[in-house]
C-alpha cells in the first residue's frame, strides 16, 4: 500500500514535467485524460456521491461551451471570464432540472430520463437556432491569443487540463470529509433515514447538482477553445454524456480518485481503439468496448476499479 502511495506521489510530481519529455501525441492523450478526469469528477459530485444518476451532463457542457464561445466571438469577452458565465448558465439549467426532479420526487430511472430529455431538448434547440450556427455548428477562428483562451502551444492546454483535474479532485477530497460530502453519501444510501436524522435532502441534492453543473459548464469552455468547433449533435449528445459518466463509474463512483483512475484507464483505450479501428472504417468500435466495459463493471465490479484495487492491496501484508 505504501508503495502505491509513493508511486502516486511520484507520478504527481512527474506530471508537470511530462510535456517537456514526451512528444505531442502523448501530450494530447494526457490532456484528454485530465480533461475527462475533470468532467468525471464534476459528475461524481452529483452522480457518484449523491447517487443521482444523470445521463444528461452533456447539456451543461454544451451550454458552457456555447456561452463562452458566443461571448468571445460576438462580444469579445475573454473566455477567462466567459467560462464563469457559461458555468453560471449551466448551473441555472442544473437548478431547473434539480428542482423539477427533486421537488417532484423523481428517482432512479425517472431522473435519468429527465436529464436525458433536457439534454436532447438542448440539442434540438441548438440545432435549430441559426443564431448559434444551427445544425452546422458554431466555429471559432483560431487566433492563438492567450487572452482569448487560445494557445499556439498545445502544452498550455495540458497544464490547464491538469490544473482543472487536480483542483476538482482536491475540492471533492475536501468536501468528502465535511458535512456536505457526508450528507451526500448518506443521501445516496437512504434518503428517508436521512430526513429522520435531520438532513435536508432536497437542499443538499440541489447543491450537489449546482456544483456539478457549474463545474461541467466551465469544462465546456475548455472544450470549445480546445476543439474550436461546436456541433449540437456532438456537444449535447448522449454519447458525450456517456463519455463523461463512464470514467467515474468504471473507476469508482463516489470515491475521490475513481474518476481519475477511470480516466487513466479509459481515455487511452478510447484513443487506441479510435486509431486502430477508424483506419478500417470501423466506426464506433470503441463504444462497443465501452458498452461491454459498463456491463462488466456492473456485474463484476459494482463499486468500481479503484475501490477494488485498494481492497486488493490492503490484503497484501499477509502475503509478505
Amino acid at each position: 500500500m505504501k508503495a502505491l502511495v509513493a508511486a502516486a506521489v511520484a507520478l504527481l510530481v512527474a506530471l508537470p514535467v511530462f510535456p517537456g519529455v514526451f512528444g505531442s501525441y502523448a501530450v494530447t492523450l494526457f490532456t484528454l485524460i485530465f480533461f475527462y478526469g475533470f468532467l468525471g469528477q464534476a459528475w461524481n459530485v452529483v452522480g457518484g456521491y449523491a447517487g443521482q444518476l444523470s445521463a444528461g451532463h452533456a447539456a451543461f457542457l454544451g451550454i458552457g461551451a456555447y456561452t463562452a464561445a458566443l461571448l468571445s466571438v460576438e462580444r469579445g469577452v475573454t473566455p477567462w471570464i466567459g467560462m464563469f458565465a457559461g458555468g453560471a448558465l449551466a448551473a441555472a439549467l442544473g437548478a431547473l432540472i434539480g428542482f423539477l426532479g427533486f421537488r417532484f420526487g423523481l428517482r432512479g430511472f425517472y431522473f435519468v430520463l429527465l436529464t436525458v430529455a433536457f439534454s436532447e431538448i438542448c440539442r434540438v434547440v441548438a440545432g435549430n437556432t441559426e443564431a448559434v450556427g444551427g445544425a452546422l455548428g458554431y466555429y471559432i477562428t483560431f487566433t492563438g491569443n492567450p487572452r482569448q483562451f487560445q494557445f499556439q502551444d498545445t502544452r498550455a492546454y495540458y497544464y490547464i487540463a491538469l490544473a482543472l483535474m487536480l483542483a476538482s479532485t482536491g475540492l471533492v477530497a475536501w468536501l468528502e470529509r465535511r458535512r456536505f460530502g457526508v450528507y451526500l453519501a448518506a443521501i445516496r444510501e437512504d434518503e428517508t433515514a436521512c430526513e429522520a436524522a435531520g438532513v435536508n435532502t432536497f437542499k443538499y441534492k440541489m447543491l450537489a447538482m449546482l456544483l456539478s453543473s457549474f463545474l461541467t459548464g466551465i469544462g465546456g469552455t475548455f472544450y470549445a477553445f480546445y476543439l474550436f468547433s461546436l456541433q449540437p449533435n456532438t456537444v449535447f449528445g448522449v454519447p458525450l454524456s456517456v463519455e463523461i459518466i463512464i470514467r467515474p463509474i468504471v473507476g469508482g463512483a463516489g470515491t475521490v480518485l475513481g474518476p481519475v483512475v477511470g480516466s487513466f484507464i479509459l481515455s487511452p483505450l478510447a484513443e487506441l481503439s479510435r486509431h486502430y479501428f477508424a483506419q478500417g472504417g470501423w466506426h464506433g468500435a470503441h463504444l462497443i468496448a465501452y458498452g461491454a466495459l459498463l456491463i462488466g463493471v456492473v456485474l463484476f465490479l459494482p463499486e468500481g476499479a479503484y475501490p477494488r484495487l485498494v481492497r486488493a492491496l490492503r490484503r497484501r501484508p499477509e502475503v509478505a
Binding site: 470529509r177 465535511r178 458535512r179 457526508v182 450528507y183 453519501a185 448518506a186 444510501e189 437512504d190 428517508t192 433515514a193 436521512c194 430526513e195 429522520a196 436524522a197 435531520g198 438532513v199 435536508n200 435532502t201
Partner: protein
C-alpha cells in the same frame, strides 16, 4: 413541561381510517409506551408526529410550536428524533459515519460532529466497531447504530419504533439498559413496543391504541388489567379470564 401535544390527529389511507382523532401527550422526563395490536395505527402515528405523513386533521405541537406540515428534517432539527420499525442504517457507511450524519444535525462542523459521534458510539457500546460498515453487523448492532444516530441528533424526544423486535432476551436486556441510560441523559422517550415486559419495565405511562383510537391510558400495572386492553389484544371472550391480582 409539555414536550409533545397531539390533538385530534387523523389519517386515512384510501378506505382505511388508520388513525382517528388521536390525542397524545408526552411530558418532559417521561417514558411513554405506545402499545396495541398489529394494525392499530401506532407506526402511522409515529409517521404523523415525525413529519413523514401529513395529518388529515388535528394539531401537533412540539415544545409549544405547531409542527404540522413540517418536513421531517426540520422536526428533527427542533429535537424530535425517530427510529424505524425495519431498521435502516446506511449500509455502506461505517458505524462512525452513520452516527456522524446524526451528529451533524446538532454540530455543523465536521470535526466537532465526529467527536460527538464517537462519544455516542462509545456510550452505546459500539466503540470497537466504529470503522466497520453497517451492513456487516448483527441485527442487534444495527439497531444500536440507528439508535446512536438518532441520539446523536441531540433530541429532546426520541420516538422508538419496535426496537426490541427480532432480538433475543440478552440483547433485549442490554437495550433496555441503554434506553434507561439515554433517558437518564435527559431524553424523553415515546416507544412503540410489542415486548410487554420491556414496555412495563421501562414506561412511566402506557397508552393503548386499537383501530386507530386511544382505548386506554395509565400506569403499566393498571393497563395490564384494563378490560378494554385485554379485549383489544385477545378479544371479548377473554375479558373475564384475566386473573384477579
Amino acid at each position: 413541561m409539555s414536550l409533545l401535544e397531539a390533538r385530534g390527529i387523523s389519517k386515512r389511507f384510501g378506505g382505511v381510517q388508520a388513525v382517528t382523532a388521536l390525542d397524545l401527550d408526552v411530558t418532559e422526563g417521561e417514558i411513554v409506551g405506545l402499545i396495541g395490536p398489529n394494525g392499530a395505527g401506532k407506526t402511522t402515528a409515529f409517521n404523523l408526529l415525525s413529519g413523514f405523513l401529513p395529518p388529515d386533521a388535528g394539531e401537533i405541537r412540539f415544545r409549544g410550536r405547531s409542527v404540522v406540515g413540517w418536513k421531517p428534517h426540520a422536526i428533527c432539527a427542533v429535537g424530535l428524533a425517530r427510529t424505524f420499525q425495519i431498521v435502516r442504517p446506511f449500509p455502506r457507511l461505517s458505524v462512525l459515519d452513520n452516527v456522524l450524519v446524526g451528529a451533524l444535525a446538532r454540530h455543523p462542523r465536521a470535526d466537532q460532529a465526529r467527536a460527538r459521534a464517537r462519544e455516542v458510539i462509545d456510550r452505546l457500546g459500539l466503540g470497537a466497531k466504529a470503522a466497520a460498515p453497517a451492513s456487516g453487523l448483527t441485527l442487534a448492532e444495527r439497531k444500536r447504530v440507528e439508535l446512536a444516530r438518532a441520539v446523536a441528533t441531540g433530541p429532546a424526544l426520541l420516538l422508538l419504533d419496535e426496537v426490541m423486535a427480532g432480538l433475543n432476551p440478552t440483547e433485549i436486556a442490554t437495550l433496555v439498559g441503554l434506553i434507561r441510560d439515554i433517558h437518564a441523559g435527559g431524553v424523553s422517550i415515546l416507544l412503540i413496543e410489542h415486548n410487554m415486559r420491556a414496555v412495563m419495565t421501562l414506561s412511566h405511562r402506557v397508552v393503548v391504541l386499537s383501530f386507530g383510537e386511544r382505548v386506554a391510558e395509565g400506569p403499566p400495572a393498571a393497563i395490564a388489567r384494563h378490560p378494554r386492553v385485554i379485549e383489544a389484544y385477545l378479544g371479548e371472550e377473554y375479558v373475564d379470564a384475566a386473573p384477579a391480582r
